[in-house]
Structure formats: C-alpha cells, structure tokens
Symmetry: C2
Subunit: 350 residues, 2 copies
C-alpha cells in the first residue's frame, strides 16, 4: 500500500514556471516567434519551429491561458460556468456531465457550483463567475428574478437556463415538460380506477413545482375527479416532512388510494411511508423524475422519467451556438418525459 517515496520530505525548492520569454531566450528567437509556434501559425520556418518546441519542452513550458485571453481580441477565457442546485443530486449530476462532455470537445473547461436551493447565493455565484470572465453560463436558477443578468448578456456572455425558466429576462431555456408529464402520471393512475389521487410537491416558489401541480389539478378536472385539499401537500422540503404528510393522509377517514409525487426525493419518501404503513402493494404510486434502483424496489416504482443527458446536450449546443455568434431570439426547448411502468403505478383500485 505504501510507496517508499511517501513519508519523505517534499522538495522545498520551487522553481518558477517558465514563460514565453524564457523559451524565446533558450531558443534564440524573438517572443513573437515563440507565440507563433505555440499558436500553430503556419508561417514559421520548420527549423525554427523545431528549435522553439525543443526549448519549450526542455523548460516544460505551459502557456498561460489567462494572459493570452487578456490580450487576445476575442478575450475568450475558454471557461464556462455550470450552476446547478446540487451536484450530488443525480439529476443535476447528469446534466453537468452532459454539458462537460460537449465543453471538453469544444476545448472549454467547466467551473461548477451548487446553490443548495439558496436564492441569495445565485447572484453571488454568478458574480464570481463573471469576475472570472467565463465565456458563457448554464444555470438552473434558484432565484425568481433574473433581470440582474441582463447586463451580463449585453456584455456578450450567453446564458442558458436549464430545468427552470428565466423570470424577467429573455434567455435560452431547456426544460422537461412538467405539465404534460404530470398530467400523464395522473391519468395513468386514474386508468387503474383510482379516484382519490394525492399530490406531494416541492416548494411552490419553484416554477417546475407549480407546473407539476397544475398538471395534476388539470388532469383531475379533465377526468371530473374530486379535488380534495386534504390530499394535496405542497412545500415539502425534507424527506421527513414528506413521510409525515403521507402518513397523515393514510390516516384520513377518506384516504387516497393513489399518490403522485412531484419530485425524486418525495417519491422515495412516499415509498418509505407506504412501507412503514405496510401499504406499498395497496396504494398506487407514480413519481416525477426517475432514480437509480427504482426498478429493484418491490414493487418497482413507476415514474415519469426526465432526460437530463438530453437537457444538457441541448443546453450546451445552444450555448456554443451563441458563442459562435448566432443572434436569433431566445429559444425555449421543451424535452418530453417518458412514463416507465414498473409496478407501483399499475396497482388497481381494489
């Protein structure tokens, strides 16, 4: 397990990094010639190219992107920012990876950061990214007011919204079809005979949570099912709160026979609550957003799946299109969801 090298003192000598000037001196050419070789301009004499490359390699020269960006006319930093709610949430992580893949292909690096659903951190983090002069921003916003970003757009920094739309700002946006997906979930439950379908939802300030609730309620209306406020629980922020909400509903005189959960963690909370009550084969359940191992639970959990990889690909391609100078109006892309039947959603009304 242990390498002999470890435990020995680290070298105290720090040799400063070589600059282009050092390379020029060693190769016996001018600064500008080194610059040409490093940037692969074709107009340089082959012999000089060789001399410069040898010197660069001997000094282990690494060009300074930042210094180069500062002087270049495009002033591009080759960095983009990806700001998400929580990188450790699988939905966010998949979007991040998807964008990272495109960025890498385009020669860009990604500055990533998480809001943890704290709206006040949003402008602060965006500010930090702007001070680092990122060339573009992909953001799943935590706040409800984005006018402050207009000045960044006008400074030429494209901004693409994912998962949630911009408020008071014209910007490209890629989202799942929350409304249609929720409607499909509720109709699927109704098709199994259920008439008392409960709803569990995230913070109502979040636009997607509003949309999912609207899909739920409009489906009930369309199907002429009763809308019982006792079966609707919104603003659930923790797994514990969601579990308690389900337990309370199950204890009602007229309990729900089916549940639609508007989010990942709420779905898992519902599974736990149904298990605790011993009702998991009895009360139907459909969740919005898929999660790992949903198929291995018993019963398997039926979900309306989002496609975070696709959302990321579209967002990244919009961003890089803007970076290439495309000017058109702000685009709004809606990515459809997919019902995945696994058992819990197919439990019929007994």
């Amino acid at each position: 397990m242990s390498t002999e090298l470890n435990g020995m003192p680290s070298p105290l000598t720090t040799s400063p990094r070589a600059t282009m000037k050092d390379v020029a001196a060693l190769a016996g050419v001018s600064l500008k010639t080194v610059s040409r070789v490093i940037n692969e301009e074709s107009t340089v004499n082959a012999e000089m190219v060789e001399r410069v490359l040898a010197a660069a390699s001997e000094l282990r020269y690494q060009p300074n992107f930042g210094a180069s960006a500062l002087r270049r006319s495009d002033r591009r930093s080759s960095q983009i920012a990806v700001l998400l709610e929580d990188l450790s949430n699988p939905f966010s992580a998949a979007i991040y990876r998807s964008i990272e893949e495109v960025a890498m292909r385009e020669g860009f690096t990604v500055l990533g950061a998480s809001f943890d659903e704290d709206p006040s951190r949003e402008p602060a983090l965006v500010g930090t990214m702007i001070r680092h002069r990122v060339d573009g921003i992909v953001i799943a916003p935590a706040s409800q007011e984005h006018a402050y970003l207009e000045v960044e757009q006008q400074a030429g920094t494209p901004i693409v919204f994912v998962d949630r739309p911009p408020v008071n700002l014209r910007a490209d946006c890629v989202m799942s079809d929350s409304y249609a997906g929720s409607m499909e979930a509720v109709k699927h439950l109704a098709a199994q005979g259920h008439r008392r379908i409960a709803y569990l939802g995230d913070l109502s300030t979040i636009v997607t949570a509003q949309e999912r609730f609207r899909g739920y309620r409009d489906a009930l209306k369309e199907l002429s099912l009763e809308q019982d406020p006792a079966l609707m629980s919104k603003n659930l922020r923790t797994v514990e709160a969601a579990e308690a909400a389900v337990a309370a509903m199950l204890a009602l005189d007229a309990p729900p026979t089916a549940i639609f959960t508007g989010q990942n963690l709420l779905t898992i909370a519902a599974v736990r609550a149904l298990r605790t009550a011993g009702r998991e084969y009895d009360v139907a359940l459909v969740g919005f957003d898929d999660f790992l191992l949903a198929d291995l639970l018993r019963p398997g959990v039926t979900v309306v799946a989002q496609d975070p990889w696709r959302i990321g690909q579209i967002a990244a391609s919009l961003l890089f299109r803007r970076l290439r100078g495309e000017q058109g109006p702000a685009e709004r892309m809606i990515v459809s969801t997919e019902l995945r039947e696994r058992g819990s959603g197919e439990i019929a009304l007994s």
Copy 2:
C-alpha cells in the same frame, strides 16, 4: 408557463464591460485609487471611496480576476481543479461537493472534470488545468504513473490525491481503508458460517481494487478458508459482466454461499443476478461502498460504507494548508470504513 418576454428578439447591442479605467474616469480619480477601493485598502479617504463605489455601481463594474492575478505578486487565480473519475457517480459527487464547500468558504472556485477511467485523459486534463493556472489540484487519478506531476509541484501547485495513491510521486493523499474494510466484510460473512465466499472486483490496475482483493484473500487465509479461483472474478468493468459472473458462479457444482463485491456497481449487479436466480434470501452479500436506497431493497444490502464527505473535507483542508505555505512531508490520511448491517450480509449458512 411562458414569459411574455420570450420569443421576442434578443437585444443585438452588446455594450462592452467597464474597466477600472472607466470607473476612474467617471469618478474623476486615478486608476490606483479605484484599485485601492476595490481591494478594500483602508487608506482611502471616505469621500473618495463613496465616489468610486458610485461610479463602479453605475457602470456595473466587475473586476477582472484574471488580469489582477496576472499582476499580483502571489499570482493566485483563486481557482482549484477537482479531477475525478465520474462526477455522476455518487461517491465522486459527494467528494466534489465536500471540496466545493470548503473552496467556496475560502473564496475559491472549482474547475471540475471527469476522466471516465481513461488514463490517457489524465495528463491532458491536468495540462489544461495548469494552463488555466489553477492554484491547486485534487485528483482521483486514472493513471498509474504520476512522475509527470513533479514539475507542477515544484512550480508551487499543491496536489492532493483522493481515493487512490500517487505512483512515483510524493504527494498528500486521502483514501478509505480498503484493506481493513474488505477484511471486515469477509470476516462478517464468515461469522455467519460461510466458508465459500466469492469475490467480485473492478479493474486490477486500480490500486483500491488490488487492496480490496488483498483484504479478501488475507481474511480467507486468516480464517483458514479455501481459496477457490472459480469464486474470484476480477477486472469487471460493466454491470452486465458482473451479473454474468455471478450467474456463472451460482451454476458451479460447488457454488458460493456468500459474495463480497469490491465496488458500488458490482454490488448492484450482484443484487440483480441473485434476484434473477431467486437466491437473494439464500446467498449472503456484503458490498464495498454504500449506495442510495440500499436500505430499501429487500433484503437490505449490507455494506462497508466509505465516507466521501470526510475524504473531501480532509483533502480540501490539506490543499488549503499547502496553499497557505505549510511545507511538511507528504501526508497519507486513511479514513476508516463502517460496516452497515441491513440484512443481506446476515444471511446465515443454511
């Protein structure tokens, strides 16, 4: 769902970003005075501070970190790189978030990138990060040779390894105790009476995979259990391969009665294979590394849990200590694992 603003043409005007010079001109002071105010040097006249801040705010001035770093004597970019195998793997994601949290507190941003277990991408990505002049690097290496990083260390860039140790390089390192954790897992299975305990492992080139196998084998030796090569499957790279390996073992004349899996995805594969064979309540299972919902499966999956959050905290604190100039020898921190009994590992030999 739709904001009226969307669909309208974006503003075509791009007003360039204000510089410190612009702020100085508007405030009627010198460049240097603006610099003093922006950097909160206390020696500035209160009235001037006000004038400068008003001008900065009117122009929506955002200082340019890169330009400032270029000239400052410390030449710090306030960026660190976090290079992991795959940010969408929960283990990596937790480490990332943990480091991000410390970095943010220290006023640093994080450049994140994933290797996807491709060793050749490692030096390439590190090179990119160096060209961006990150101040430090946290890396879960994909390669088996890190001498190339010595020049970066000597240029003053601290490098901290996580999850896997450096090879041919002296550097700080934070890892789980793979050997002890694996040994504990196997002994736990043996304590339930099992004598034919199988092993499933990741690529043998990965040091942690080697350590976990060593822990497994040494436990067998210590307990005087037979070492049957037919019960050892290494170099498993996909869930499918792992499922097939388990299926093949179960079909042996002398099948295993218990399984130890050396990694996350292999554990899930084993669960699937046991389910398919209808043996999940029959063959015991302990996995290395915990995963979400392991407790909700039936039987619950017993694991040797790592503590990625803690690994990240330690790695980040080592890194920032080095950035503050601490010189001591390279440190190797071992984070202990924790056996979590949930059912699958407590199935006794029948």
